[in-house]
């Protein structure tokens, strides 16, 4: 039996122990806690175009070239490069001291293997490799690309900022067939992926790569010096927008990568929080599946596109007028290739015309499956609105809930709907993705080799090849417009509107967020 005296001693002892233990529980070093836009389940940024994986890629990998804030290509891993007189041979020399996280140096063998794998998945990469005669190492530190004919976008390709960027991996990892996902996240980037602390659904941990040698220039876009000023970066998975905002307000996390618009006014009004706009612009698009009915019929695809009401869709998702605008062009409005020659597409709903098209094309009334990423705060307001718009246009709709990583996996299926396939989904892109038709991953017409949706349109592919073959600006503009028209005629996809992506972070704790077309985490200082 514990006597009263003994009991007191035990209690006091316990409290002391708790106090001491708490003191020892302090973490060493600076930790940056970020809430990422979604859970990270796929670690292969070449297999998927999902931005969360791309962001992971920018943390652990490095690229040959980067793009600065003005859109100019700047060397990153490359030290210098030369072009032959006829423009068909490009020779690159790597910087000294580039090492992978396992201590092995980065060699041209690694570079070539990585580029080859990227070239099998990425649209622009495919075009580049089709135009390539040979790609070979000159020595351990330099390599050359020899083209059959002048390829106008070599540097654009090697510096491609968004999905898929040509990240450089060790040759042994890049040997993985491109339709299989890698499971080794060794790279040469400024952060190291901490595999033993990787808990999908909970936390993803990165450590500072102390051996990384950043360039001397200031960071700008994806170019410049990638200095890391924290010791550890943790991506804390919080699915609920309210929980994210609460956690930021309370100091439990430092930064929300992509702020859901519904928290915009609340956090803007909070004086300890900065709401920032480091990625200038983004857009959303409705993507259709062309290998299974009914959208294998272009008329039905057009009918679905005619149901789009950009104002309603954007208002539902972005809420505040200053955060969005309509734009009927497939290119960002205000950029060089944007054009108002959009054919039947106006961004405003045309229900009667759509119904007529459906009748004409003999739509059988089978429900179209619209994938709905219920947990993804940046996309989850579109599907309910789109479903109703499609219904007004005469479609039957089956809106299926799932989480975002599931959607990303499921959109790879070409099966019919009753075997787990899909017909439509909506996703977001950055200005870096669609400002140039050669960059935009979903703009493919080469069927099953193309991006999810797998539209077949030979004319489109021809136009893209023509675009690559010329450097003449006016001619390029013409071709870009023609490409836009093909997109609408075949009904490959359609833009839903443009928006300003927002980031929020604690004013006192975080500084140095880089202006860049993609989310990057170097240069951030934590107090």
């Amino acid at each position: 039996m514990l006597s009263k005296r003994n009991l007191k001693a035990v209690v006091v002892g316990a409290m002391l122990a708790i106090g001491v233990a708490s003191a020892f529980a302090q973490e060493a070093g600076k930790v940056l806690r970020v809430v990422p836009q979604s859970d990270l389940k796929i670690l292969d940024p070449i297999w998927t175009t999902a931005f969360i994986t791309r962001n992971h890629g920018y943390a652990v990998y490095d690229t040959l070239f980067g793009v600065d804030e003005q859109g100019k290509v700047k060397p990153q891993m490359v030290d210098k490069y030369t072009t032959s007189a006829d423009g068909k041979t490009w020779t690159f020399t790597l910087r000294k001291g580039l090492e992978f996280h396992d201590g092995k140096p980065v060699t041209s063998e690694d570079v070539l293997a990585s580029l080859k794998r990227w070239g099998q998945r990425d649209g622009l990469g495919q075009k580049m490799y089709a135009a390539l005669d040979k790609a070979e190492a000159v020595d351990a530190n330099s390599f050359k690309l020899v083209f059959k004919d002048t390829f106008g976008m070599v540097l654009d390709a090697l510096s491609k900022p968004s999905s898929n960027p040509p990240f450089i991996m060790p040759a042994r990892v890049a040997a993985t067939p491109p339709d299989k996902q890698i499971d080794d996240a060794t790279g040469s980037g400024p952060y190291i992926f901490k595999k033993d602390e990787y808990r999908p659904g909970e936390k993803i941990v990165y450590l500072k790569n102390t051996k990384y040698v950043p360039r001397a220039e200031a960071p700008s876009g994806t170019a410049g010096g990638k200095n890391v000023y924290v010791d550890r970066m943790e991506w804390v998975i919080l699915k609920d927008a309210q929980t994210q905002a609460n956690a930021l307000a309370n100091g439990e996390v430092d930064m929300i990568e992509w702020l859901p618009p519904e928290q915009y006014t609340a956090l803007k009004g909070n004086t300890s929080i900065t709401v920032d706009n480091p990625i200038p612009k983004g857009s959303f698009a409705l993507h259709l599946n062309h290998v299974i009915p009914p959208f294998d019929n272009p008329k039905i695809a057009q009918a679905a596109i005619m149901a789009i009401n950009q104002e309603a869709l954007m208002r539902a998702q972005m809420v505040h007028k200053e955060l969005y605008n309509s734009c009927a062009s497939v290119y960002p409005c205000g950029t060089i290739f944007a054009s108002d020659k959009t054919g039947y597409f106006t961004g405003k709903p045309q229900f009667e015309k759509a119904k007529a098209l459906l009748k004409d094309a003999g739509y059988d009334g089978k429900p179209v499956v619209l994938m709905y990423p219920a947990d993804f705060a940046l996309l989850n307001k579109f599907p309910p609105v789109m479903a109703q718009l499609l219904k007004q246009a005469g479609f039957n709709v089956d809106m299926q809930s799932m989480d975002w990583p599931t959607l990303v996996t499921r959109r790879a299926k070409k099966d019919p709907v009753d075997k787990g396939g899909w017909n439509l989904f909506i996703t977001g892109w950055g200005i870096a993705d669609n400002m140039n038709p050669m960059f935009y991953a979903p703009l493919t017409g080469n069927g099953e080799k193309g991006w999810f949706g797998w539209a077949t349109d030979e004319k489109l592919e021809q136009l893209k090849s023509d675009f690559l073959a010329t450097a003449d600006e006016p001619r390029r503009k013409e071709l870009a417009t023609a490409i836009q028209q093909r997109v609408y005629d075949t009904g490959i996809y359609a833009p839903i509107g443009e928006y300003k992506p927002l980031t929020a972070y604690r004013k006192a704790a975080v500084s140095g967020v880089v202006r860049s077309p993609v989310a990057v985490f170097w240069n951030i200082k934590k107090n």
């Binding site: 609340a266 208002r315 109703q388 809106m399």
Partner: protein, 307 residues
């Protein structure tokens, strides 16, 4: 009841008229039943209580505060004036309308689950209690089903077979069956030994007649009581499933769905979660109180089981 006077009566088959009067006189039955009636009436009268299409979206009217009067521009193109009694959700859907129509769903699910659980539980319990050879196997099966936590079972079934109304009802009902079965079985076991049953058996009465005429009436009261508790629990479970995103389709107006949608902005616009939450709590409370009242009047011995 004064302490020291525990009179435990054997349960006779209920006689209709005086029992009904007793039931209706009980305070809990009146309150619980009354509120429930009111809810049923409101949900049936939904189209005439200032509601609009509960699935109609108007992004321009998003997040309106309760009591706002405004213009609703539907996606189909028509416009009209409307008083948003309980405000709107982020897509501009009227919460008052969604809550009232949602009551239909919740009540339907609750009653369907109760009926399903009671019917199947009764069958299983009768079989197990009366036919000794089947008893052991049936009870093991029921133990097995009870071992799987109800919510997990329901979630798994919905994950496997999709979120249709029937699936959800079955998914919620199945985990409730073992308890009902046990209840019926224990009644059967007790009644089976009664002299009049033995007499009936001696007279060669067909089994089904024995079951229906003699045994079943004794189970009616506990079954009704259990049914109300099952109904209350089912309404809650449906809301939880929808809240987690694994229940009825997201565009359907159910209380759980409304709350799930409102989660994202609870701090600024708590009305999304609080209004349906209050309705949910009231409904479940009413059913639970009704159950308590029925239990008090129909079977005082029941005080042992906590519900």
């Amino acid at each position: 009841m004064p302490a020291g006077e525990a009179i435990v009566e054997p349960l006779p088959p209920p006689r209709r008229r005086s029992l009904l009067k007793r039931i209706l006189a009980d305070w809990s039955v009146r309150v619980g039943g009354g509120v429930l009636m009111l809810l049923v009436l409101i949900s049936l009268a939904a189209p005439w209580l200032g509601t609009i299409d509960p699935t109609a979206i108007d992004p321009g009217s998003g997040n309106l505060l309760p009591g706002t009067r405004g213009e609703f521009n539907s996606l189909a193109g028509d416009t009209f004036e409307h008083l948003f009694v309980m405000g709107t959700d982020s897509l501009g859907r009227d919460i008052w309308s969604r809550t009232l129509y949602g009551a239909r769903v919740s009540l339907t699910v609750g009653v369907s689950v109760a009926v399903l659980a009671v019917v199947f539980g009764m069958l299983v319990g009768l079989l197990g209690g009366y036919f000794r050879r089947l008893d052991s196997a049936i009870m093991r099966l029921m133990d097995g089903v009870m071992a799987i936590p109800g919510i997990l079972f329901a979630i798994s079934l919905v994950a496997l077979f999709g979120g249709k109304l029937l699936t959800v009802v079955v998914a919620i009902a199945v985990p409730e069956i073992p308890r009902v079965a046990r209840l019926v079985r224990s009644v059967v076991l007790t009644v089976r030994e009664e002299p009049y049953v033995e007499a009936a058996i001696a007279l060669d009465t067909p089994t089904w007649k024995i079951l229906v005429r003699h045994i079943l009436p004794n189970a009616v009261a506990p079954l009704i009581i259990q049914a109300t508790y099952v109904c209350a629990s089912a309404i809650l479970v449906e809301a939880i499933l929808s809240f987690l995103g694994v229940g009825l389709p997201a565009d359907m107006a159910t209380w759980g769905n409304i709350m799930a949608e409102g989660r994202a902005q609870f701090n600024q616009f708590p009305h999304n979660v609080l209004f349906p939450g209050i309705f949910l709590a009231l409904t479940v409370l009413a059913v639970n109180i009704l159950g308590d009242g029925l239990r008090d009047t129909l079977d005082p011995k029941f005080n042992k089981r906590g519900g």
